[in-house]
């Protein structure tokens, strides 16, 4: 299906139009239970995102990168993954974490500035959150190359933004992925803004998906506010990766409804009218209309999942806030496998000097 949408001809994969009506030939035909689970995860993502933003404003959480407006592409992508697949994140992926079962408590803890917030549960095949833009794409390709060498049928999803496509590491990674035919799926979240720099300032290419053509593999642009389109594209690309078909670049065309982070003020560089226009294309609302038309959505269902989401988020925050701050031992412990004598001496000095209270 991916091949049917040629980015060089400006074609974009869309399953649900803005009224929530599905194209019958493209609808992945998911069962009601799955569709309602996807909607539930989207609502939980939005609820947790708003909570994180509010906690930051209250001084209870540090600088936070909101996922507002990205719930569709995030939950859609994660829902297309199977147990053995891997995920290499960037830093705006809340819906993927939620859908893959990452404990919200740990997610909040990270943004609260606690090292334990990156202790990824062993059962989850998730690499560390990465902040330096595009640098993680190389890790995902290295993991892909390792999988090829180990003859393991692993598919690896890696996310990044539109700004990342200007970085050298994006080029080096996709170039190597093409050369080694690695099992990677590159999900580029084109939300039109890299902090204040608009998409058109990143590249003169008409689409980001078409860059794949030069690397020798398929690229497709999908409607990033259409959860089913992202699901369908990621599903097909991951299956292709798993079965030796090589990499795919998927450009999810969407919009960053939030500021870049809580430290940013987007009103300095973009018009409120544009934001308002995109607010109308809310991926959650579009999917709700679809569910309703299929008879899978009711007021009671909405009420139930909103109540449950709010409770889950409150519980996670409470637990995260209950975790004691790291000790001096904790922050030294993972520099090397074993503490070198010089570092052990420094730790002892830090304790003796009562740094941060001395414990």
């Amino acid at each position: 299906m991916i091949e049917r949408f040629d980015p060089l001809r400006g074609e974009r994969l869309q399953v649900l139009n803005e009224a929530g009506e599905a194209r019958p030939d493209l609808d992945p035909g998911l069962p009601a239970l799955t569709l309602r689970r996807i909607y539930t995860d989207m609502v939980l993502t939005r609820t947790a995102d708003i909570k994180a933003f509010n906690l930051q404003r209250q001084g209870r959480l540090g600088t936070y990168a909101s996922s507002r407006g990205h719930e569709g592409l995030q939950v859609g992508a994660a829902s297309a993954m199977v147990k053995d697949d891997w995920f290499f994140p960037y830093f705006r992926d809340l819906g993927l974490y939620v859908t893959l079962g990452y404990p919200l408590r740990i997610y909040f803890l990270y943004w609260m500035g606690h090292e334990e917030g990156m202790r990824i549960p062993e059962s989850l095949r998730i690499f560390t959150l990465t902040i330096p833009v595009a640098s993680q794409i190389l890790h995902a390709v290295g993991a892909g190359l390792a999988s090829n060498l180990q003859r393991l049928r692993r598919a690896i999803l890696c996310t990044f933004g539109d700004g990342a496509t200007s970085e050298g590491d994006f080029h080096e990674a996709l170039n190597a992925a093409g050369v080694f035919k690695t099992p990677n799926v590159f999900l580029c979240v084109n939300n039109q803004w890299a902090i204040s720099t608009p998409r058109k300032r990143q590249t003169a290419s008409a689409t980001l998906a078409q860059k794949a053509v030069a690397y020798g593999f398929a690229g497709v642009q999908v409607d990033g506010n259409d959860v089913l389109a992202v699901y369908a594209a990621v599903k097909e690309a991951m299956e292709k990766a798993r079965t030796g078909g090589g990499p795919t670049l998927i450009e999810a065309f969407t919009y960053r409804l939030s500021d870049h982070t809580t430290a940013d003020d987007a009103s300095r560089y973009r018009s409120q009218a544009d934001v308002a226009e995109w607010e109308k294309r809310d991926p959650i609302e579009r999917f709700r209309l679809y569910l309703k038309s299929r008879g899978f959505w009711t007021e009671e269902f909405e009420k139930e999942i909103r109540t449950k989401s709010a409770a889950a988020v409150e519980k996670a925050v409470e637990e995260a806030e209950g975790v004691p701050a790291p000790t001096l031992d904790d922050i030294f412990a993972y520099t090397y496998k074993e503490l070198p004598p010089g570092l052990a001496e420094e730790l002892a000095e830090a304790k003796a000097a009562k740094r941060g209270g001395g414990r």
Binding site: I120, F127, L138, N175, A176, K337
Partner: protein, 324 residues
């Protein structure tokens, strides 16, 4: 069997590819061509393209892919063709390789070795003669290793590949074929984080690593004929430092001279001098002196000797600390 340093490195790589199926070599021109210095010669033929991998010309990718491979259970030995071409990969080293263990609370680690030739003395083009080892020593999580003999090169490289922490393995270009030494065929380790007292002496401790050890040995001969006994220390692992070996020697001799090829300012010599000042000041009979490269861009081939410390300059420093 006697061999050069580059042959010893080749033998270490072959041994480890043979012994540990997780080890893979990757870099530019390391396969078919056997590396521009022939460090990987013959390995492609023996172990095949899945163990000795020719990479696209992209240093950040060489290191970034290595990290992903290491996290997925392999033990990559990456080659950066020259230290002067390392810098596009510095972001990967600083932002990820050095700290992935810490960021992931130990779930993901980077048991990878990055080898690169470095240092002046082979009359190469611009960018082929730098000694920027101190850059790496400022990065917590890295282990920075420099061999100065064929024997050490093999043993230190085997120890580096087997280390569960990432190692930056710097190979002094000038020493690749400078001397042959008896190197055992057998599997042996030269432990990381252990400096080596290569010559015992009583008057002045002279500290260096890599290609400067050759300068030190020549200086020690000159000094001996002048009746001065030098104790020579090869630091070998620049970070984390073996403080004890260095301090024990300085406490004994009461005098220290540090020699490095890198520029003086913020070179590792500054760290060593501070270490000695903090822990052995009352044992000192004279100020700690440094004999180093200059705080200028490394000059081109015709002026190399003006830049790199020679035995004359080391001897002058030795005489100064003795006269103090």
């Amino acid at each position: 069997m006697t061999m050069t340093m580059v042959q010893a490195i080749n033998q270490a790589l072959a041994k480890e590819l043979e012994r540990d199926p997780r080890v893979v070599i990757l870099g530019e021109d390391v396969g078919l061509n056997g590396g521009v210095f022939r460090a990987t010669e013959g390995l492609f033929d023996k172990f095949g393209p899945e163990r000795v991998i020719d990479m696209p010309l992209a240093e950040s990718a060489v290191v970034g892919l290595s990290l992903g491979m290491a996290a997925f259970g392999l033990r990559p030995v990456a080659e950066i063709q020259f230290m002067g071409f390392f810098y596009p990969a510095l972001n990967q080293v600083i932002s990820h390789v050095a700290r992935i263990r810490n960021r992931s609370r130990g779930r993901y680690t980077a048991p990878l070795t990055i080898r690169t030739p470095y240092g002046a003395g082979v009359r190469a083009l611009e960018h082929h003669s730098e000694s920027t080892e101190a850059l790496f020593c400022q990065i917590p999580g890295l282990t920075v290793v420099v061999p100065s003999t064929p024997y050490d090169a093999k043993g230190l490289l085997l120890a580096s590949i087997r280390s569960d922490d990432p190692v930056i393995f710097l190979e002094p270009t000038r020493l690749y074929r400078a001397e042959k030494q008896e190197v055992p065929e057998s599997d042996y380790i030269v432990p990381l984080r252990q400096a080596n007292v290569v010559r015992e002496g009583s008057d002045v401790t002279v500290i260096a690593w890599g290609a400067m050890m050759d300068v030190l040995k020549r200086t020690a001969e000159i000094a001996q004929s002048a009746g001065t006994s030098l104790e020579l220390i090869d630091v070998r692992t620049l970070c984390p430092l073996d403080r004890e070996t260095i301090l024990t020697s300085v406490r004994k001799t009461g005098r220290a001279v540090i020699v490095h090829e890198a520029p003086r300012t913020c070179g590792l010599g500054a760290e060593l001098a501070a270490l000695i000042a903090e822990h052995a000041l009352l044992n000192l009979e004279a100020p700690v002196l440094r004999v180093t490269g200059l705080d200028i861009t490394v000059p081109l081939a015709k002026s190399e000797e003006k830049y790199t410390p020679q035995p004359d300059q080391v001897m002058q420093a030795v005489e100064r600390v003795l006269r103090f």
